[in-house]
Each structure stands twice: as C-alpha cells, then as structure tokens.
Symmetry: C2
Subunit: 362 residues, 2 copies
DNA sequence: TTGAAAGCGCTAACAA
DNA sequence: TTGTTAGCGCTTTCAA
C-alpha cells in the first residue's frame, strides 16, 4: 500500500510525475501549474486546483538540478577565493557579504570554491565551470597574464581586485593608490616625517599600489621616503606583527618612527599589539593608520582607509548577472569594462599630530 | 564547417557525445574513459587514447548538473545562515572556514544560503533541498520546536549551536555554560566582585547559557550576583557599545564595576571602545573578558573564552557526510547524536586583579 | 485545454 | 571490448 499517510517518510522527494499521477493529469500540466512552465497558455481551473492539492499532499518541490539541466541555468554564482588555512580573512567576509546581498536581489544563490593558492587555479577553475554555476567571481586573483588562454569561454567571469588585466574578464577594484596617497598625505600634513610602511606581500598588486601611493605622497610634498622604511609581509595580523617586530629588532637604538602606515587593518592591529607590548602609546607616541575599514578597524577605532568592500561585491554580482543574462539571450557580450570605486580616509582614534619628544627603539 | 580550429570560442562546453563523435566511439566509451563510469570493466588502449585526445581537443569538462541528476548526488553541502545586513559576522566566518576545510577533505563544495532571519526558515529551507545539495548545515538556527514537522525528510541536516533540540537533526555545539562559568570563576578568584555581564539577545540559547554560567560561578562561590548587573543586547560591536553605554548612563554616580564579562568578543570590543572614550584604562581600572575567541580577540589580545568554532564546522561536515553516505548506500541512518566540544579560557591582556581604588561612573 | 515526444548530459543495466 | 537502451526530473515543441 502506498504510504500516502506519511508522505514525509519518503526517501525521495515527489516529482512532477508523482504529482501528475496523484492529480490524474499529465506531468506537464503539473509543470505548467507549479513551475510556470510555458507549456501552453492556460490550464483549466479544475486541473490547476487538483494539481495544487496533489502537490501539497506530496510536498512537491521542484528539483533544481533537473531544471538546471533542462534550462542550462542554475541561478547560482560561484565565488573563487583562497581562504583556507591561515587566519580568517575579513577582506573575504566583507566582499562576500556584499556578494550575497547582491545575489539575493537577483534571485541567485552563491557557492564558494576555495583553493589553496592561485597556482592551482589553472587546474581548478575550469573544473568549477561544469554546469553547477552560471558565472564566476574571482576574489583577489593572482593569475599570470596567460589566464585568458585557459579560462573557460563558456562561463562568464568577473574579478574583484585582480592583480592583472585579463582579457574578457571585467575587473572591479577600489582606488588603492589614491587611498594610500591621501592617507599618507594627511599624515605628512600633520607633521609626520618618518612614516614606516608595513606593507602586504610583494607581487600582490593591491599591496604594490599602496606602496606607490605612499611614495607619491612623499614625492608630491617634496620629501624623500626615509630609506629602509618600507617592509613587506603578509596581510594578516600575524603578518603585521612579525614584519613589524623584525623591523624593530633590526632598528634597535634608532629613533622610533613618527607613524605607521599599514597596508591592512589586520597588519595595523598586529603593529598596535606590538607597540602596546613595548609600552608605547598610540597615538601619543606613534600614530597608526590601517587600510580596508574592516570590522577590525571599526572595533578598534582605527584610523584607516575605507575600501567599499561590500559594494564591490554587490557590483560584481550586478556585472556578472548582466553578462549571464546577455549570454542566455544570445545577446552580444558587453565589452569587458572595468570599474574602479573610490576609497576614502576614515578618521579614528589612532592618528594625531606627531610626538615632540625623541623616542629610541629599545 | 565545424570550428575545430577554435574550440575555445564555443558557447557551450563539449559533451560526452561530442567527444565520442570526435573519437569515433560511443558516448559511454568516452564516459568510461573520462569519468570512470563503470559501464564495463575494460576499454582498449586504442579507444582510450583516442577518447583522451578528443577530450583534450574539445576541452571536454564533465557536466556536474547532468551527473548530479543521474547520480542523485551533487557533492555539495549547503550552509544556512542569517548573514545579511548588519555587521559582518565573525562567528559565521570562523565556523564557515572550518566547514570549507572539512568539505574539501570530503571532496565536497559548499553553497551558502542566507536568510534574513529564522522566521522565514520554514518557507525557505525546504526550497533549498531541491537537488542542488546533498545535505544541509544550519548555523546557529533559532527554530521553534515543531521544526521536525516541516524540515524535509529527504535531505540530511545537521545544526551547529541550535537553540532547540530538533528530532532527527544532530547538533554540534560547545559547552558555553562551562566556558562562562570558568571565566567568571577565574574573575571571582582574582578578587573581582561587581562583574557586569553584557549579554547577547534574550532567546538565543547560547546567550542564555552564558548568563547561566555567570550565575553558577557566583552561586558556587557563595556570592549573589550583584543586582542589575546583567544586560542583554545584540552580539555585535554596536550591540555591545549601545548596551554598555545605556547601562553606564543609567548608573551614573554609582561605582564602576570591577570587570565586564561580555557574551562575545564583539560585545567586549564595543565595551572596550566606550571605556577608552571615557578615559578608563583596561585592565588597570576595569577588566574585560570576551567570548568566542574570534580574530577580533586575537587582534586585540582580549582575554576571552575560546569556542572551537572551526572545529565545530569541520565536525559538522564529518557528521553530515556520514549521514549522506549512509543514505546513499541505503544503510540505516545513525541515531541523531549530538556533540558538545569543550571551551577553554584564553588569557589575554585585558584581565588582571581588580583595582583597589573607588571609581565613580561619570 | 491537454498530452505525447524529445532532449538537457550523464550513468547504469543489458546485449551484442 | 563495445554499443544500445532507458532513465534521472524537468522543459519545450508540437500534435490532438
């Protein structure tokens, strides 16, 4: 006897055929009623009612996989990021938050593909484009220039903060060089002269651009950047802690810098931590400015440079969905234009005029 | 003429039939070679070579949707969380990191379903179980007791930090009550007496348990919790800031508490911020202890209670994949057992012996 | 207004 | 060793 009494115990979800059978109509009538398939214009009220009732009884749920196969569309966006292993990545969290917000407004869901590092992208990314997702967002990819040769042509792709221009892949980023420039200019205007830049990894274009902004601010003020005042390391708290510590040890006996310009909030907090441990007060003894305006900065009232991370995520979705729609309707693809959003300096509690006394590094 | 010369320009990825045609063999021979389908035991070397070459030329990629439809399995896990809108949720980030780590070891990918709040879960969750995912992880769900009635039976589900026991849904959590108890006990042992608890939302079971631990530590020490020293608010930095500020305003003219026990790191940082603005020193004037041990705590060297968030995520995946496998092999489902991981107190820089002087709230 | 048939790309059972 | 057939659940085209 069929277990009509306990539909919830069934192992498999009910299908359209099941519904049709229960309602005494064909599966496509059920499809027309339940999923709005445009089988044909109209369904009689009676059929509709019967189908709806049967669907209710059977707890019918459309199967997204089957529909995706038929439609060639899953309404799912993929996000590729390096995210596993080290310290949780707030940059990822903020952009991802924006992506999910954007995806929700377009009725899309989001799947995350994590890769250990971008060296494996060439093997992994094509394997993500296997029908599960309609388009891909690359988060802060570090790809070689030949990426256009091997990125799958059949899946629209956009990037956020790509280190390279990739043909056919629109990129969204914020104006990091300007942000760094403005922050450092403000520090110079306050009277700071010996500003240590604790930067991000060499080769990461964002980190490089922050260095450029740092240098431009100095150059424009007619100042030379103090020698040996740029260090590079990881973007994380530990990266900042380690890089700063090493620098301090190397410069023991020399005067403490007036200020630190960190390439990320995490780096800035790593520096803050080491400063406090050494008994130095911020900003009385030394000012600290971060970069990104993540929740870390807001929690610590860090002076920082705000990147519109959430907005980058939302706009990336907009652009990507536009491309997916265009392709679906066989419209010509838009030109792959890139978008640069502005950055702004955020004043916090860690930047003030420089100290007037001399402090020597212990 | 077929565009053999420019396979990359094709709109659609090559299929097994395409490969078979190109290689002059059937699609299932190609399937056997390329995807290890166990159509039959062996394929001749010649066929294999031809198929491989054709696949290479055509840049064949298996289609996960089609395979999923045939297999009834997508190798994808869904994560349901409330994540949109307010401040980025570090709790989510840390657990999610663990989930992705775990998923990777099981060859699964992860898709995130965000919901505005758990009130809409009843409508939304069943719609996620539509063939896209093989199982679901609910992150900190707040569901009514009748959830077992409407949660889809055909999809295995596990929860992390559920507020309720749900029949058929194994839950993973950490021992929050003990963590709170141990932290507060340590504070009491240090000599703190007037400990303000800035708690999380009423009704969130985790927040409630932290209050219980706070009370138990007092009771066990033969102390009564100071009246009016428990406030509840959001788990976020702003939540902490606001709740603490309001409390301070209400208690102007009265003595400053010895210490604050916050129900989350974010709350603790919100309190820290308000303390600093008021010119109070931590821990010299007042100690602060957080909860969770997120990156926030590590960045600020906050004394806190560590929950093994990443590990909860990883284990949730292990349990879920076990259930999926069992179901796939038609094995009897394991009993839905729950798992409680231990919490530990982490010493940081914000907890010390209480001050000896009297401070009055301004 | 409804139903039958074909196909999305793949896998499994069976035949040759 | 290989090909044929059927079917996963759905949609669409076309015929009744």
């Amino acid at each position: 006897m069929p277990d009509k009494t306990a539909p919830s115990r069934r192992r498999r979800a009910a299908t359209l055929s099941d519904v049709g059978r229960e309602a005494g109509v064909s599966a496509m009538a059920a499809s027309a009623v339940l999923n709005g398939a445009r089988t044909s214009t109209r369904i009689s009220e009676q059929t509709r009612a019967r189908v709806l009732e049967a669907a209710q009884n059977l707890r019918y749920r459309p199967n997204a996989t089957a529909r995706g196969l038929a439609d060639q569309r899953m309404n799912t966006l993929g996000v590729v990021a390096t995210l596993v292993g080290d310290e949780p990545n707030l940059y990822f969290l903020e952009v991802f938050n924006g992506i999910m917000l954007g995806a929700a407004t377009h009725g899309q869901t989001t799947t995350v593909f994590t890769i250990a590092d971008w060296d494996v992208a060439r093997e992994r990314i094509p394997s993500f484009c296997d029908g599960r997702i309609d388009g891909l967002i690359l988060l802060a990819p570090m790809l070689a220039g030949d990426a256009a040769d091997w990125l799958p042509e059949h899946t629209p792709i956009v990037s956020v903060h790509s280190n390279h221009e990739i043909a056919g892949v629109p990129n969204l980023e914020s104006d990091e060089e300007s942000g760094a420039y403005l922050a450092v200019r403000q520090m110079l205007e306050l009277g700071h002269r010996r500003i240590l830049h604790v930067g991000g990894p060499t080769g990461a274009s964002g980190a490089d651009r922050r260095v450029q902004g740092y240098r431009r601010a100095h150059a424009e003020a007619g100042l030379v950047t103090p020698p040996d005042h740029v260090v590079r390391g990881g973007f994380s708290v530990d990266g900042g802690r380690d890089a700063f510590d090493a620098w301090m040890r190397q410069h023991a006996g020399q005067p403490l810098p007036d200020a630190i310009f960190a390439a990320s909030d995490a780096i800035a907090l790593g520096c803050l931590d080491r400063l406090l441990v050494r008994g130095l007060r911020v900003p009385a003894d030394i000012s600290v400015v971060g970069f990104d305006d993540t929740v870390l900065a807001r929690a610590a009232r860090l002076s920082t440079v705000a990147q519109p991370l959430g907005q980058l995520g939302r706009q990336a979705v907009d652009v990507l969905v536009g491309h997916i729609e265009a392709r679906h309707e066989r419209a010509p693809a838009h030109a792959a234009s890139s978008i640069v959003l502005p950055t702004v300096v955020v004043s916090g509690a860690t930047l003030s005029a420089p100290r007037t006394t001399q402090i020597t590094i212990a």
